[in-house]
Symmetry: C2
Subunit: 128 residues, 2 copies
């Protein structure tokens, strides 16, 4: 399989609930995680929920990085989706571990899209 993109998906448990509830503290962490992963920030959106929780999504030149937090559980759902060879989503993940300090985490890597399958089903635009 020749993947079009790579999707790192991680669960962070036992994080500091206060840190998870502050978008202004999370923004520079997410953006630096992108830099650590050799990717490029296009646009960052953070949203604070009531009574608690933050969603942070960074659109990248290479796809996106997203963190959703549940301070009431000390939990954050983390993902980094990147295309191309250059980005290193594991490096972004290692930086996020250093910053969010989960006492336990799990991680999995998905291959997204198969290039051979894409070319088999590709329908070129009809010529005008």
């Amino acid at each position: 399989m020749d993947a079009i993109a790579r999707h790192l998906i991680a669960e962070y448990y036992g994080c500091d609930p206060e840190q998870l509830d502050r978008p202004e503290r999370l923004r520079p962490i997410l953006e630096q995680a992108v830099v650590e992963g050799k990717a490029t920030v296009i646009k960052t959106s953070l949203h604070q929920f009531s009574p608690q929780g933050v969603s942070g999504v960074v659109i990248l030149a290479e796809s996106h990085l997203a963190v959703h937090t549940w301070p009431e559980y000390g939990f954050a759902a983390v993902e980094i989706l990147v295309c191309g060879e250059a980005p290193d989503p594991e490096a972004s993940h290692r930086y996020l571990l250093q910053q969010l300090k989960p006492s336990h985490h799990t991680v999995r890597m998905l291959q997204r899209g198969d290039l051979q399958t894409a070319m088999r089903y590709f329908a070129a635009p009809s010529q005008a």
Copy 2:
């Protein structure tokens, strides 16, 4: 396992390359997909890449929906991450299939975060 969130991840092959390259056509499709899935749009961000390709991310009250397109392969990477019982990410996915009309697709559903694990590692904030 008592999942904190559900993550539907799909690969759409053989889509119309022209449709995949137009953020103004994708925006209402993504936002209606959220409605079909009984979720709530907070904020939609679309970005068009040069020479081609679109990233569309909708922050939801329930997490996010994201579509990244590769018109050069007729390929779109789709995902819908939701917390809570009410949202129906399969319904969002069915609507996206109707609109983007891939000639082939694959789909998988991930459980994100285990509530029992979260409570085991939860560190309540220290009292001031």
